[in-house]
């Protein structure tokens, strides 16, 4: 479903990703963990070309992403949930959800709204359809953002630290939605520090450090007997 081949990314003289090779199967739930600055966000942002790799290749559903085709491939195959939610503040919740289906997928308005309400039900926010995002709490905004991602009916949803900007008491409501989502046949790539979530949902966990994939394996492997010293040190700090 997603394939990264020898992906390198540099920002100026800063070499952020170093020969990252990674494959994600259809329907797989992949969790990427690692210390800040390890390149995990950049990795997931390369998957929809928000960052274009300096070298290397990214394939989505067998199609090689290029600067030219990225808009079309991204439109048809991927959606993203951001740390800062990035809802459109000048639109109501319902308009946020229906904008892309109406303008990009050319879905008739009433159908798009039906779809939006279906996903608002899933995230438990049907009654907020007509309000503006700024009136919602962080957790509610992130649930709307997840509903927006679902409305695109993308096969791949990328989560870039979806709970890192939330108040501690609203983190769980977002995680609950993501856990619910993980039962669907959607390919999920999640960058997170929520180890409980990783343990519960992930098919596979990747640990990144200094722009490289240092270790990968099942959640059991990770949380019971990680092999790399660096992974152990990181996990012991974060699992305290």
């Amino acid at each position: 479903m997603i394939k990264l081949v020898n992906v390198n990314k540099s920002f100026g003289s800063l070499h952020v990703l170093k020969d990252v090779n990674l494959e994600v199967a259809e329907g797989e739930k992949l969790v990427i963990i690692g210390p800040s600055g390890s390149g995990k966000s950049t990795t997931v942002r390369c998957m929809n070309f928000l960052e274009e790799p300096t070298s290397g290749e990214v394939y989505i559903d067998g199609v090689k992403l290029t600067h030219k085709n990225k808009t079309e491939v991204v439109r048809n195959s991927t959606a993203m949930v951001f740390q800062q939610f990035n809802l459109y503040p000048h639109m109501t919740v319902l308009e946020n959800l229906t904008l892309a289906p109406i303008k990009l997928q050319k879905v008739p308005k009433h159908e798009a709204e039906e779809l939006a309400f279906k996903y608002l039900d899933i995230v438990g926010l049907r009654e907020k359809a007509s309000v503006y995002p700024s009136t919602l709490s962080g957790g509610q905004q992130q649930r709307v953002a997840i509903a927006r991602a679902l409305c695109s009916r993308a096969k791949i949803i990328l989560f870039d630290e979806p709970t890192s900007a939330l108040d501690p008491e609203t983190v769980q409501e977002v995680l609950d939605v993501m856990i619910k989502l993980s039962q669907e046949n959607i390919t999920m790539v999640v960058v997170t520090h929520e180890m409980g979530f990783a343990r519960q949902v992930a098919d596979r966990v990747i640990f990144m450090d200094d722009g490289r994939i240092l270790e990968e394996g099942s959640p059991e492997h990770f949380f019971e007997n990680p092999t790399e010293e660096r992974t152990k040190a990181f996990l012991s700090k974060i699992l305290k």
Binding site: Q84, T92, A100
Partner: protein, 240 residues
Amino acid sequence: MIQQIMEPWRWQMLFAEWPKFLKAFGITLEISVLALALALVLGVIFGLMSTSHNPLLRIIARVYVEFFQNTPLAIQVFFVFYALPYASIVLSQVTIGILCVGIYTGAYMSEAVRAGIGSIPKGQFEAAASQGFTYIQTMMLIVLPQTIKIILPPMVNQMVNLIKNTSIVTMIAGGDLMYRANAYATNDVMSYGPSYLLCGALYFVLCFPLTTWARRYEARLKNRDVITNTKKDKVEEVAA
């Protein structure tokens, strides 16, 4: 002048000429409306160009803005009126007024648009890209609508300046309001007092509703979140 405006016969004479003033008012209105439409279109186009990733587009926008901001409108008008006929381009005074005032104000408007686009958080562009919107769609559907709240005050200043600046065509005998007032003021009885007073009042009639509307619209946009909040409170009250 004070003495003049106390003399009723001067006003009687002036209002006998009212149809001519009304016609001149119509010409000023025509130049204003069409120049405004032109300025808005140019402002958006060059504002978008100045924030584009293409350096050539940015340079073109820069040259346009610097050229028209840093030379007097009067010289631009004289150039078009006196020089272009040598290139067999002869335009009516009204057309010259529309083009010159529109292009001149467009330069200022594009600066306002540029500043507005610059104030929109990067996350908005990324959210749009992650949904597969093209650059133009991103600007038209997501970014520009959000800039309205920010650029409305400077834009309205420019609109009012535009209306007042249409009086420049007086210098090429454009038949506009200022020209009519001037002509009447220097007639055989030299009634400049009433003439200029009426003229000023008519410009005021054009500009004042615009600034009033803008102030109200701005307040409404700023209150929008608050309004949905109170709506929400009402719903909750009913529910309780």
